[in-house]
């Protein structure tokens, strides 16, 4: 213990180990205090968990876009949060129209499906355009260059959409079928949250099928493994990369609609920034480049955010614990980077990249 590879005492290892013990201690003490005080009932914990899973599944859907692109291009597409916003914001107007005609409440399932498709297509278009215009010309340049371009693209998209739709806040119409809650004993879980979780799950299964079972999925995996060899095998790399951006975009757009059903308020041009950063955190948490990792990371982050403040921080007597939700999320990121830089499930990289 506390020794580096050559067997000498290492202050870095020592500090990290002490930190590790302190964190575990804080979590245990905080959780113990909260649970033994009985301040929050079981039904309330289940509610927090359900809300966390719903929020987490939205993070997961966005995180998949980061991870897919990273897996293939080794770049962080920081404009991905805006791709999410593009779908969610544009579909608001579509949803309003569906609501005005009454279709949304007469055929809720069909209407939501249409909204998801619509948002997916909008976001896909935006993602593909960003790749084509902002990233492809820079392919092969140093890795910092596309990163800066991505940040630029992110600002461009935000202000382009502000120009298009204005800067005021909008709210998705309410879907009657998703209101109310499922009652199991004392526990009541809102229908909307169950719906959000299930639809995210369906999309994730769909993605898994696409990547593992189809021809294009195989091509994606091949390009991710080694671009040059894949090219020699006759794979059109540009097309595969464009397709990957498209798939990531579609997932982000559908996450936008699902988010609108879960938290209808606050639709505006800036709405993609925080979820984008959180989803990036989720992707790193799960192991960037790793598809199941992004899903798991998203769900994990959502749950930690929902339960962490009340379970750990409130138990430690920290005032205003719920305000520290974001602190928990980003502390998780720092901790993962310190203790397990490859993420929960590990980065899935080919040898040439690692």
């Amino acid at each position: 213990m506390f020794r580096n590879k050559s067997g000498e005492f290492s202050w870095v290892d020592f500090t990290i180990d002490v930190l590790r013990v302190l964190i575990v201690l804080a979590v245990v003490v905080g959780a113990w205090n909260t649970l033994s005080s009985g301040r929050i009932s079981l039904a309330q914990w289940v509610n927090l968990l359900a809300a966390g899973l719903s929020q987490g599944s939205i993070y997961a859907l966005i995180a998949l876009g980061y991870t897919l692109v990273y897996g293939i291009l080794l770049m962080i597409n920081f404009a991905h949060g805006e791709v999410f916003m593009a779908g969610a914001f544009t579909t608001f107007f579509f949803a309003e129209a569906l609501n005005r005609t009454g279709f949304l409440n007469e055929q809720p399932l069909l209407a939501i499906l249409l909204m998801i498709l619509f948002a997916g297509l909008v976001s896909m278009t935006v993602a593909v355009l960003v790749e084509r215009i902002a990233y492809r010309p820079l392919r092969g340049s140093p890795r910092l260059v596309p990163l800066i371009t991505a940040i630029g693209a992110s600002f461009f998209l935000q202000y382009a959409f502000r120009g298009l739709y204005g800067s005021s806040f909008k709210a998705y119409p309410q879907v009657r079928a998703l209101q109310g809650a499922v009652q199991i004993g004392d526990i009541s879980i809102p229908v909307a949250q169950i719906f959000v979780f299930c639809s995210a799950l369906v999309l994730m299964i769909g993605l898994h099928w696409l990547v593992e079972r189809t021809r294009i999925g195989k091509a994606m995996r091949a390009v991710s493994e080694n671009k040059e060899v894949a090219r020699l095998m006759g794979i059109d790399i540009d097309w595969v990369i464009l397709f990957t951006f498209g798939v990531g975009g579609f997932l982000a757009g559908s996450a936008g609609v699902i988010n609108g059903l879960f938290r209808p308020q606050g639709v505006n041009f800036y709405m993609g920034f925080i979820p984008g950063i959180k989803a990036f955190t989720a992707a790193v948490l799960g192991g960037i480049g790793n598809i199941p990792g992004a899903m798991l990371g998203g769900l994990f982050l959502g749950v930690i955010e929902a339960i962490g403040p009340n379970l750990v921080l409130a138990g430690l007597g920290i005032p205003g614990a719920n305000q520290l939700k974001d602190v928990i999320a980003f502390t998780m990121l720092v901790l993962v980077l310190i203790f397990r830089p490859q993420g929960i499930l590990g980065e899935r990289l080919s040898e040439t990249k690692a």
Binding site: A51, A306, Q323
Partner: protein, 422 residues
């Protein structure tokens, strides 16, 4: 050596060039003067939130100022009135930036603004240092008119407002909750903003004074969308009423999620003027039905006539509740300019900046749209000119959520209803 000499020479020349202007002027005001040539317009500034989520508040006030100018035919002292609008957003940084731009313009005589208390906090030191004055139409934070820095006061000379101080408004909301709604326990939620923080503090203090039990005081972050964690905590403390004077969109998220939080289904929801905008009920959805809001209420014949002019001019009803306060603020400023301006024989005008402040301080029983306005200069009401009766408690109904009705019906009018009758 030669270079130093040269620089000194240039500096001396510049000073020499600048000095005669001051010497030439008739200004004896300690804060300096605005000097207007025979053809110069009267320029007033406005720092309002005219973009972003809270733009309804700023555009509402801007309309009020425009109508006040129009009511004088666009002229004052036989000169045209010009308004320079700067977007002060709804943040301290926004207020600071807007104030800096206006303070850099020596032709600006006085300023209407800001919309939000946080922006005023950023703007006030700059406005004060420039010797200017600002009259805010919708700031309500108690700290802005409080001189005592130890208790969080940030008042500086040059600050005035026509909106009611939260020391009065949130205290009245607390009285309403206890005496009329008959609730016994309170939870408050702010977002760290000067205004929301002040409103919840005053509400909690008054509530406790009246024998109520404050069971929870907490805060959310601006930008939060998920309120589950704090709502669970609130539910665990079991309040009868939750007071959340937040801005949009946090107030929308909070209201909508509170309605579905187990344990809070029967709690009364009360919010305040920051969300007193027509988009609030629609954005919050079904959950908004039944929410109480304390906000400005203006009535009377003069106000009805003002509304008719507004409709003729802008084609739709005012988007928020502070247009009349802005109208009064503009009139107080324009009257003060008229009172303090000194004309010379050759048609020039000199307006002393401290004389202008004095003229606003001297306002007493001014017959404004919002009531009889008197400007106080004693902390914690230093610079407060707002009428204390132009307020009400509103109750949101289905008509506001589904049919776009605005404003909601007032269930308690502080000008006419009295707690003795309750």
């Amino acid at each position: 050596m030669i270079r130093t000499g040269l620089i000194s020479l240039i500096l001396a020349l510049m000073l020499g060039w600048a000095a005669p202007v001051g010497a030439h002027s008739a200004c004896e005001d300690p804060l300096g003067c605005v000097e207007l040539g025979a053809d110069d317009p009267i320029v007033i500034g406005a720092m309002l939130v005219v973009s972003g989520a809270n733009s309804a508040l700023g555009l509402d006030a801007q309309g009020g100022v425009e109508l006040a100018i129009e009511a004088r035919g666009g002229m004052l002292l036989e000169r045209e009135i010009e308004m320079v609008v700067e977007d002060s957003l709804c943040s301290a940084e926004g207020g600071q930036a807007a104030a800096q731009r206006l303070a850099a313009d020596p032709s600006i005589i006085g300023i209407i603004g800001t919309s939000c208390s946080s922006a005023a906090q950023g703007a006030l030191p700059i406005v004060n240092a420039a010797g200017m004055l600002m009259i805010a139409p919708s700031n309500t934070s108690p700290s802005l008119t409080n001189e005592d820095t130890a208790s969080g006061g940030v008042y500086l000379p040059g600050y005035f407002r026509t909106s009611p101080n939260d020391l009065i408004r949130s205290a009245k909301a607390a009285e309403y909750a206890i005496k009329v709604l008959g609730v016994a326990s309170l939870a408050t939620v702010h977002d760290g903003d000067t205004y929301t923080e002040g409103a919840t503090r005053v509400m909690a203090e008054r509530f406790a004074e009246l024998g109520g039990d404050v069971v929870f005081s907490g805060a959310v972050n601006k930008g939060d969308t998920d309120m589950t964690a704090i709502l669970t905590e609130i539910a665990a403390s079991g309040p009868d009423i939750v007071y959340f004077p937040l801005f949009e969109p946090e107030s929308n998220f909070f209201g909508a999620q509170m309605a579905t939080t187990p344990g809070l289904e029967d709690a009364v929801m009360m919010t305040a003027a920051a969300s007193f905008v027509e988009s609030f009920p629609e954005n919050t959805g079904d959950a908004a039905i039944g929410i109480y809001m304390s906000g400005p209420l203006v009535g009377g014949d003069a106000y009805e006539a003002f509304l008719t002019t507004w409709l003729d001019e802008f084609g739709e009803s005012p988007p928020s509740g502070y247009h009349a306060h802005a109208y009064d603020a503009a009139n107080i400023l324009l009257d003060a300019i008229e009172a303090s301006a000194v004309a010379s024989d050759d048609g020039d005008l000199t307006i002393g900046r401290s004389a202008l402040r004095d003229a606003v301080h001297a306002v007493e029983d001014y017959p404004g749209l919002t009531g009889a306005l008197t400007c106080y200069d004693e902390s914690p009401y230093a610079g407060d000119c707002g009428s204390v009766t132009a307020m009400a408690i509103f109750h949101i109904t289905e008509a506001e959520v589904y049919d776009g009705n605005w404003p909601p019906p007032a269930v308690w009018n502080f000008a006419t209803d009295s707690f003795e009758d309750a």
